[in-house]
Point group: C2
Chain length 84, copies 2
């Protein structure tokens, strides 16, 4: 068994309003950073997985994203896997 680390990004879909991101974009003006626009806020998830090879690790992480980590109605996800 080999140990892999996965780095996952879960973001609100483009067509979905991101109220948290919108609020933070507004706050940038008060910080004197009005040149920062269109902030979107999602989740960054790291995890470790033991698997026989990278392909199996990839499939399991994909399963975890689909079934637990991302809400596919409102969110999309992407991830990278690297051997630890």
């Amino acid at each position: 068994m080999t140990k892999f680390q996965a780095e996952i990004d879960v973001m609100p879909k483009k067509e979905i309003l991101d109220p948290q991101g919108k609020a933070v974009t507004g706050s940038m003006k008060n910080l004197g950073l009005a040149e920062i626009q269109n902030i979107r806020i999602g989740k960054h998830i790291t995890l470790e997985i033991e698997a026989e090879n990278a392909e199996i690790a990839h499939a399991k992480v994909d399963e975890a994203c689909k079934n637990l980590l991302a809400n596919l109605i409102m969110e999309s996800y992407s991830f990278k896997i690297a051997q630890v």
Copy 2:
């Protein structure tokens, strides 16, 4: 002025307990994914910034992270900037 996009990761520091990540790690067992361990959950933030050059964009995003996006007592951050 050039437009840049930044991709920012804000994560709980290693020495800080991450109760959300711990809870999700526990749920993996119920999903039949007990080989997934040590989940940590932070934020992934994307934003757009107009600046004269990449160096200035980098400095402004760093300022935004320090002053608003990350809580430096409990979180660390990293980011990449790319021209759009």
